[in-house]
Amino acid sequence: MAMAHNAQPQLLETTGSGESMDAVEVDATNLATKELNDRLRELMLSGVEKVVLRNVCGQRYIGTRLYTPEHRKMDIEIYGTPGNDLAAFLFGHNIRVHANAQDGVGNTMDHGEIVVEGRAGDVLGFSMRGGKIFVRDSVGYRTALHMKEYEDKKPVVVIGGTSQDFLGEYMAGGIVILLGLGGKPHKGNFLGTGMHGGVIYLRGTVDKTQVGGQVDISPLNDADKEIVDHYVSEFVQRFPDLGIGKEEILKSDFIRLSAKSKRPYVKLYA
């Protein structure tokens, strides 16, 4: 079950002390997307394991070009706002954004971790197959769309706020947790439309009319509670500045959205 994630990747310091001894700083001012990613790749190939990017302003695909056959890993801290497709196809790196993120965060990512100290745009975690994404605030449309899982790869997305429409559409695996912190109601519609795997936990509630026809709404069982407890702890650890304890979050009721069938279209054909 989900507790297979106990082995935590070593995270960067969260209190602005990212400038640890061996971290290399890159000033992204006036660097084009390709130039910035060229630089990141060079650093990784030269053996650097921690990078702090300053003054990032819309550069895309940060973290995407960091695949090596030896599976090198890198920790990246981002100051400023990264552009679309942050960490697309991410292959095991850790990224922390000290700001908002734009669309396509973690697109088709395989493993690794992304922490966003703010909000993120649309299609976050699209087709994601492994790794974790933590977003402090809310996210846009089509989050965790067609997220999947395979064997020990089970992607996890934890959102502090809420999401807009089409959360978990076509979802085939993985875990999405929406915390609705700050009393944010879940107003998104078409949640889990076409869902055929995975699970969404919502703190608070939604109306039946907000979810897709393929979705069951149920209370949490003990196993669910254990999963939620585990990932809420991880969320709280990553955002100490929020000043909210795990217990306070877990005091409220959660609901569970899951697929009615692994085969939603089985009766479609003659």
């Binding site: 697109n107 395989d110 197959r129 395979y150 479609l268």
Partner: protein, 504 residues
């Protein structure tokens, strides 16, 4: 419910020849033949027969004949037998009619209305057996301007070139996924592609890990809306990456690989749980515009360190040439267009038979559009969907394609008889199935040899046809519509293809 549908095929068994070996019974996954021990004879159920001819070919006594049955209904030009029986099946089930292979309806096959030129007296023809003939071509973006420096006879190219695929002959294997086709069929395509200096396309079902090292260099890996089996390793092991937007057999819709076909091996290649439906949404939900497409193209270029050309495959539909222009401007190095007759492992028949346009008309429109806009050099065009022979390829190139994808032709080379039951997963030829008993019937050695033979034969025929026109390089044939003439075509059709009528 009693079905009112008549059998499509009649099985005629010559009892005098039949040795009751029960080979036919074992060959047929549809359960058509059963042995009756009381009578000591084989009984055949016409209703179950798919018309795949497997039992006919493998009967050691040549005792079986499978014939299409004539329509049992009163002749009716409007209500064909197929229309009536599809309707009955739907009245009986309430479901969508699924089918496999490509559009089999009598739309005009333009290849058969185009004739090729040959040299007579002037510009003498070339004999490819005696003189070099260049079929090699490069697929990918070419620079707007090529800056060269010559130094004591050495030529140095100063312009930074984009990555290109080198193909020794303009024939590539079209996207057919492991999952839709069997492992042996998939591996046969890969083996033949490597042997023939060309490429196979993985389709959207991933590339099994154990095949990556050996076959990655002749693989084009696909990224489709389901994003199955995609990680950085998969993208980087291949020679090129193709974003699949559309497919000629089913433009505008996605795909469902039914749970029955998602075996443990298919599941591990696609990286999804075994037994679940593998659902490919109709659109890529991160692509709602040309700008979004560009974002994915560059995400893939980034993920592959700008080392591989990125292809975008679309179905040929109305106004697609304008979309093609957008695709080039979005940064694609190759556009693959798939026409009306492109095949599939499963598609709703209503879509397969009614959506899209013929590839012949599409190639020419796209080539012309890109030329008129001065961006033809920025991408190569691969034409797909309905290529049946070497002459079709010559015509496709002369209409403006750089190369072609063959799918159905490759399957026929391996043994397929177009029974159109791919969607059932019971392919008796071991091609379109995940049943290990059936898939084991296809020998990789034999099937890959048959494919390599086909490529060799067609390549030679292409050389002969080019030589006859006095052309010694594929590059000189591309877009060379002067070598084509139409026969029996309307003015608008000639105009769309940019060719003259025969005799002109």
């Amino acid at each position: 419910m009693k079905s009112f549908v008549f059998p499509e095929f009649r099985i005629i068994r010559d009892e005098a020849k039949c040795g009751q070996c029960r080979g036919c019974e074992r060959q047929c996954a549809f359960g058509t033949h059963t042995y009756d021990p009381v009578q000591d004879r084989l009984i055949s159920d016409d209703y179950k027969c798919a018309g795949c001819q497997r039992c006919v070919v493998f009967c050691p006594k040549n005792a079986i004949e499978v014939r299409p049955t004539p329509s049992p209904y009163r002749a009716n030009a409007s209500w064909s037998r197929e229309k009536m029986e599809d309707l009955k099946k739907q009245a009986e089930t309430g479901g969508v009619i699924l089918t496999g292979c490509g559009n089999d309806k009598p739309f005009r096959v333009y290849w058969d209305h185009i004739v090729l030129n040959a040299s007579q007296v002037t510009n003498p023809s070339i004999d490819p057996l005696r003189e070099p003939m260049e079929l090699r071509t490069f697929l990918g973006a070419k620079p707007d301007v090529m800056e060269v420096k010559t130094d004591k006879g050495d030529v140095e190219i100063r312009t930074k070139l984009s990555p290109n695929l080198v193909v020794e002959t303009p024939i590539l294997f079209s996207a057919m996924s492991y999952g839709a086709i069997s492992y042996n069929a998939f591996r046969s395509l890969a083996t033949a592609a490597c042997k023939s200096g060309t490429y196979f396309n993985t389709g959207e079902g991933g590339l099994p890990k154990e095949m990556r090292e050996k076959f990655g260099k002749c693989a084009i890996v696909q990224v489709a809306s389901g994003r199955f089996g995609i990680d950085a390793e998969y993208l980087n092991c291949a020679s090129a990456v193709e974003i699949k937007v559309g497919q000629g057999a089913k433009p505008g819709i996605g795909g469902h690989l039914p749970g029955e076909k998602v075996s443990a091996e298919v599941a591990s290649t696609r990286m999804i749980p075994a037994g679940t439906d593998a659902i490919s949404p109709a659109p890529h939900h991160d692509i709602y515009s040309i700008e979004d497409l560009s974002m994915l193209i560059y995400a893939l270029k980034e993920a592959t360190n700008y080392e591989k050309p990125i292809s975008v495959k679309i179905a040929a539909v109305h106004n697609f040439a304008a979309i093609g222009s957008g695709i080039v401007r979005a940064g694609a190095d190759i556009i693959a267009i798939d026409g009306l007759r492109g095949g599939t492992g499963a598609a709703p028949k209503a879509i397969r038979d009614n959506v899209g346009i013929p590839i012949e008309l599409a190639i020419s429109s796209l080539d012309r559009r890109l030329r008129n806009e001065g961006i033809r050099n920025r991408c190569s065009i691969i034409a797909a969907g309905g290529i049946r022979c070497s002459a079709d390829i010559v015509k496709a190139v002369a209409l403006g394609a750089d190369a072609v994808y063959i799918g159905t032709s490759a399957l026929i080379a391996m043994g397929c008889n177009l029974c159109q039951k791919c969607n059932t997963g019971k392919c008796n030829w071991g091609i379109c199935t995940q049943d290990p008993r059936l898939a084991g019937r296809l020998s990789v050695d034999i099937a890959s040899q048959r494919l390599a033979n086909l490529i060799q034969a067609w390549s030679h025929e292409i050389s002969e046809m080019m030589g006859g026109m006095g052309i010694n390089a594929l590059e000189s044939l591309r877009g060379n519509r002067d070598h084509l003439r139409g026969v029996g075509l309307y003015e608008w059709e000639l105009e769309v293809m940019g060719i003259k009528g025969a005799g002109e």
